[in-house]
């Protein structure tokens, strides 16, 4: 196997080109993968942040961002189903936001009852009591420029209602291209002009000892005109809507696949050229009695070594770039397992790239060694 390593490092410029090709492919795959993971995560972030077991939505709602109001009796009927411990309300709608300087901006306003979830960003929770007013409005730090408030708190207008921006939060940045604002449920319906008993989503917690699926089934039987989904089902539905139905996920996935293909072509060409340059040496090896398996192993090892070195360099390059990209794309997210997972396709890529080369090395006629 020393021959494999020596062959590739002997021509350093060619080795550099190969490694650069792999690095570029790994960079693209990890970056696009981080966009996709971040996109999926952002698409269901608020649903995941709830501590609920079941979500009730209007029939046919595809994603959290496109809910519509439910009849007020839905919440009351749901509360009466055995096994339902608690019901809360969530709403989300677009509103017009105006800064003190008169700058106007469309925002996505989210309101929720205090018990929806510990991670759900609402102001009227006991942890924040005394720090901010119960009707405060929160915004994500990544939307600071769009919200344009010089100090906290600042009085603004939402749908011509006076509102107080009081706190920055993190991790709930713009996903739709418009900033999210978070406030209490009662405040949100006031800004949005909903009736006091209206709700877009009824969020349920199931009592201990009750089965979520049984409660879900009972709810669906009692409320056939709405959709009853577990939290995970609604999160999945929301993710699928944004990634599959809008085509956004497809575009990101296509770019990741293109990264893979670019790497494949670059590595194929350089490994092939390297093999053909050394084809006489493979003939010599075969003449000296090297079995085909050894010849194939040498070519494959060369490809995998290029893959390993290229992958490491690609990962070293992509990690700081993703960190920087967060200022532009707040929802980009690279989980720890993504770079680890990308090593596999890069190795597959290099193995595929070596197929033509292995074939040539194996079929070379050993008798050519006697030609001067």
């Amino acid at each position: 196997m020393k021959l494999a390593w020596q062959n590739i490092i002997h021509d350093r410029s060619r080795f550099s080109v190969t490694v650069l090709g792999v690095s570029f492919a790994v960079f693209l795959m990890v970056f696009q993968g981080s966009l996709l993971v971040g996109f999926l995560r952002a698409a269901s972030r608020l649903i995941d942040a709830s501590d609920s077991d079941i979500w009730i939505t209007a029939r046919g709602v595809q994603a959290f961002e496109f809910g519509t109001t439910l009849e007020s009796r839905v919440r009351e009927m749901a509360a009466g189903v055995p096994g339902v411990m608690q019901t809360d309300r969530v709403c989300m709608a677009f509103a017009v936001y105006r800064t003190p300087k008169g700058k106007q901006q469309v925002v996505a306003l989210v309101g929720a009852d205090p018990n929806v979830g510990k991670r759900f960003p609402v102001p009227d929770v006991p942890e924040l009591a005394g720090e901010i007013s119960p009707d405060a409005v929160l915004y994500d730090v990544s939307d600071r420029d769009l919200i344009a408030v010089p100090v906290l708190p600042t009085e603004v207008e939402i749908n011509r209602h006076r509102a107080s921006i009081e706190r920055q939060i993190q991790g709930y940045g713009a996903f739709l291209g418009v900033p999210f604002l978070f406030t209490s449920y009662r405040n949100a319906i006031r800004y949005l002009g909903f009736g006091p008993d209206d709700a877009m989503y009824v969020v349920l917690r199931v009592s201990k000892g009750s089965s979520v699926s049984d409660v879900k089934q009972s709810l669906q039987e009692r409320l056939p005109e709405v959709d009853v989904l577990t939290r995970d089902e609604f999160a999945h539905k929301s993710r699928m809507y944004w990634t599959i139905k809008t085509g956004a996920g497809g575009a990101i996935l296509t770019a990741a696949v293109l990264g893979f293909l670019i790497g494949l072509v670059v590595v194929s060409q350089t490994i092939y050229a390297n093999t053909m340059e050394n084809i006489e040496e493979y003939a010599t090896l075969k003449a000296l009695g090297a079995p085909k398996s050894l010849v194939a192993r040498i070519v494959l090892t060369q490809a995998l070594l290029c893959g390993a070195v290229g992958s490491i360099l690609g990962l070293f390059a992509v990690i700081p770039v993703i960190d920087h990209a967060k200022s532009l794309i707040p929802w980009i997210y690279m989980p720890w397992w993504l770079p680890v997972l990308m090593v596999l396709p890069s190795m597959v890529m290099c193995s595929l790239a070596s197929i033509a080369s292995v074939r040539n090395a194996l079929t070379v006629e050993p008798g050519r060694v006697f030609r001067a």
Binding site: L3, H10, G289
Partner: protein, 272 residues
């Protein structure tokens, strides 16, 4: 014939190396190649050679026939020289003896085994265990140092050999290349490269050595060194050496000379 001090020591140390490797080339091949293929087992006259071998390439008007019904046997422990003009079939004969080419008709024997009906894998095993090759163009691995080239020879014949680097170094020491063992082939002179190639061919102690124009790219002194080294392989180790060459200097080292012309044997000198 006077032997140089260099080549004498080469032989002694190579013998020592071979015994230390606990390696028996003959037994290794016997286990890989079925005994029933050894149709002429025990007949020493069929140790190495061809019988009524005909080889042709191409078809129709482009058909050439480099060997026509040639029969020649090489006895164990002899040094044979094959001469003849270009296109006479010398290299074709050597390719058959090296299990690199099968005849259209006739038989090829290597170490008493009829090889032309063996599978490619079995022929590969015979090349690996029984035959050392020396080429006109050296055929060293350009990215490996001299010592790694020789070590590769040991590795191919015995992948489990853990002391191959030490053994390769000793071989190179005895060929006068000890201080150049870490140089790459392109840093060596042609004569030095050929000595590395011979060391690689001898790694693992093969009983047969086939050499194709081994001195064609060398100056007179370097060529003579190679002649001497190969001669000693016969005298000291009892290896069977077959050299194909135009170079008349080889005649004085050979036990026997075969001259080919137009694919047929024209003359056998000192026939054994």
């Amino acid at each position: 014939m006077p032997k140089s001090r260099l080549t004498n020591t080469v032989c002694e140390d190579a013998s020592e190396l071979a015994s230390r490797s606990h390696y028996s080339a003959a037994s290794a091949v016997k286990t890989e190649v079925e005994p029933d293929l050894s149709v002429h087992e025990g007949t020493s006259s069929r140790f190495l050679g061809v019988e009524r071998a005909t080889v042709s390439f191409g078809e129709g008007g482009a058909r050439v026939c480099p060997l026509r019904g040639v029969s020649v046997m090489f006895k164990r422990g002899t040094f044979s020289l094959v001469m003849g003009p270009s296109g006479s079939g010398k290299t074709t004969l050597l390719s058959m003896l090296g299990c690199l080419l099968s005849p259209d008709q006739g038989s090829v024997f290597v170490d008493d085994v009829l090889v032309n009906q063996l599978s490619e894998t079995e022929k590969t095993a015979i090349r690996q265990k029984k035959i050392g090759f020396v080429f006109q163009a050296f055929r060293l691995f350009h990215s490996l140092s001299a010592i790694d080239n020789v070590a590769l020879g040991f590795e191919l014949r015995d992948p489990k050999q853990s002391q191959r680097l030490e053994m390769a170094q000793e071989l190179l020491d005895k060929f006068g290349l000890g201080d150049k063992s870490h140089q790459e082939p392109n840093e060596l002179s042609p004569g030095e490269r050929q000595r590395v190639a011979v060391a690689r061919a001898l790694a693992g102690d093969p009983p047969i050595l086939l050499a194709d124009e081994p001195t064609a790219s060398l100056d007179a002194q370097a060529g003579r060194n190679i002649c001497q080294i190969l001669r000693n392989q016969v005298d000291e180790y009892g290896r069977t050496v077959v050299v194909v060459s135009h170079d008349p200097r080889w005649r004085e080292f050979a036990d026997r000379t075969i001259t080919l012309c137009d694919g047929e044997i024209e003359q056998k000198e000192n026939d054994l």
